[in-house]
Symmetry: C2
Subunit: 334 residues, 2 copies
């Protein structure tokens, strides 16, 4: 039951290991192996179902054809959908993806990076969290391609692909204001990454540009790893106490908790209370009434991430960093 090795093939074909290797790697022509031998070896490989041991191959060549993908939580639909798209596209180009979730835990993130490093992945696609700057910098220093998506770390110099979070927030607040909303709340998280900050900045700027003064009491920052029950309670308090007429949720899971909160206090979404969620979600289309959402261009993000990675992988020199910002789309429902 031992699986076949290149040596077995060589013996069967009565040629050297080298010859088999050249044929497998398409270097037969270049190395001037005769047509007859190529045929014979290929036939034997075919019949025996031999597959090269990728581990041995990686050890020798130093690359694995594997790309590591690190996200916050693979069970969040934004990430799982992006992961799926990236996986698809990478797969078509001969790369496999290994993914793993950090759960916003710095130690776990560091361990994951180490594990990917010791497995010699060829490149890293990361939706980063604060606190791993040093580890990322080491990867870059060692010459590894690293690309951030969705989130960015200000202190690290590498390519980034993400939606225009600032503009998306700005747009949605504008929309609220055109509807005549006066007391617009923002529910966000306390994780300090650039894209969350930008979402807040867009909110502030839009208010300011419309002559509405920013009110700290209308902004609720939720602890990241907090129990959902507690989150819902905090939101209920916010929604009940103030005469809020619109809410922007900075992430889709916050929006979902928010909808639960609204349901519990029996507050209806409608003319006198509007919401917009950042990141679309299946539940929003289905909800009655439909929930407006800022839809991130998943397909484009995935496409650009892969494009940048492959460019870097196929280039011998370090390419210039690129920052690709893609507009988000405000989907108005009902």
């Amino acid at each position: 039951m031992k699986s076949l090795s290149i040596k077995d093939i060589a013996v069967k074909a009565n040629v050297s290991i080298t010859t088999v290797s050249f044929i497998i790697n398409g270097k037969a022509k270049e190395k001037s192996i005769s047509e007859a031998v190529i045929e014979k070896v290929k036939k034997i490989i075919e019949e025996s179902g031999y597959k090269p041991n990728q581990i041995a191959r990686s050890l020798r060549t130093g690359h694995s054809n594997i790309i590591g993908l690190i996200v916050e939580d693979i069970s969040n639909s934004f990430f799982s959908r992006i992961a799926r798209l990236i996986e698809d596209k990478a797969y078509k180009r001969g790369y496999k993806i290994i993914y793993s979730s950090t759960e916003n835990n710095i130690d776990k993130a560091k361990e994951l990076i180490n594990m990917f490093k010791s497995r010699k992945v060829d490149a890293y696609i990361i939706s980063p969290i604060k606190g791993i700057e040093e580890d990322i910098q080491m990867l870059l220093d060692d010459g590894n391609p690293v690309i951030f998506f969705d989130r960015n770390l200000p202190d690290i110099n590498t390519s980034y692909v993400g939606a225009d979070h600032f503009d998306a927030s700005y747009q949605s607040i504008q929309n609220f204001i055109h509807q005549g909303k006066k007391n617009i709340a923002l529910v966000t998280t306390d994780i300090n990454v650039k894209q969350i900050v930008e979402r807040c900045d867009g909110y502030k700027k839009a208010l300011e540009d419309n002559g509405i003064k920013y009110d700290d009491n209308l902004v609720l920052k939720i602890h990241f790893n907090q129990e959902e029950g507690e989150t819902i309670d905090q939101m209920k308090k916010l929604f009940e106490q103030r005469n809020i007429d619109a809410v922007l949720f900075a992430t889709n899971y916050l929006a979902i908790s928010g909808l639960k909160a609204l349901k519990q206090i029996n507050k209806k979404i409608g003319d006198d209370f509007s919401v917009i969620a950042y990141d679309d979600h299946e539940a929003f289309e289905l909800h009655t009434p439909g929930i407006s959402a800022l839809q991130q261009p998943l397909e484009e993000i995935a496409e650009n991430v892969i494009k940048l990675i492959l460019q870097q992988l196929s280039s011998k020199t370090k390419l210039d960093n690129q920052e690709i910002i893609i507009p988000a789309k405000l989907i108005l429902r009902d």
Copy 2:
């Protein structure tokens, strides 16, 4: 920039490679290495940040500490949540998970299996599809631990963990009947895997036990890879034409399409029209009214899968196959 090897450590510590290896692998005591040397080497490893090259290690030992997970679609929340739980639990035991989606495509599934095989994963966790029996059998013949979850293939003899699909369907139909429903429809898929068949069987049996005759016209089988638009159209036709008063959806994505269909034809869920979805989904709790669902015990499934895998991995002999069936829970909403 080259990363350190065990040799570098050996040179720095002025001992042999063997000695370093023994220390790294905790065999120092057993191989009677002196305390002094152990300390010295450990210190050097610590300071230099050396991490063993897992590829070389895998090549030598023949195992990778990686478990391959193959599912239909990682962006489906059932799978991504299970994946996340399995990942967590495996991680705690020192195993990493690589996952990939088959998209119900036989060729892709076969390729994935080959790719995992050539990467020498230690075990396979698979939610299988029809058509890959031979490949799976080869894995088993080669002595690889393989465990199925959620779905099962009748012709393959291996361990399985899943919910009690038959009973879950049965239960929900019973529930409809107790509510006085007469014309109960079933929307399912045409993929021919055991768990889908069992869901249908439960439906039939429950009708039969209650003296209602099975009507083929009340059962809609949706093609797997069909456009959602078409699916919705078919459902609209079903829901409009007949005086159906209850529907059981055999998967959560079918339920979501079904809810969209109902919304489009403006049919309300309520006393005269009930639905139950197989597999819970975030959207169902949020929906107004809440959508009843058969909740699969994700945590228990993941726990059992990992338990079986680790048992098999740590045993030298092939263990007996186990079939672990866990009851699903009917969550009634509104």
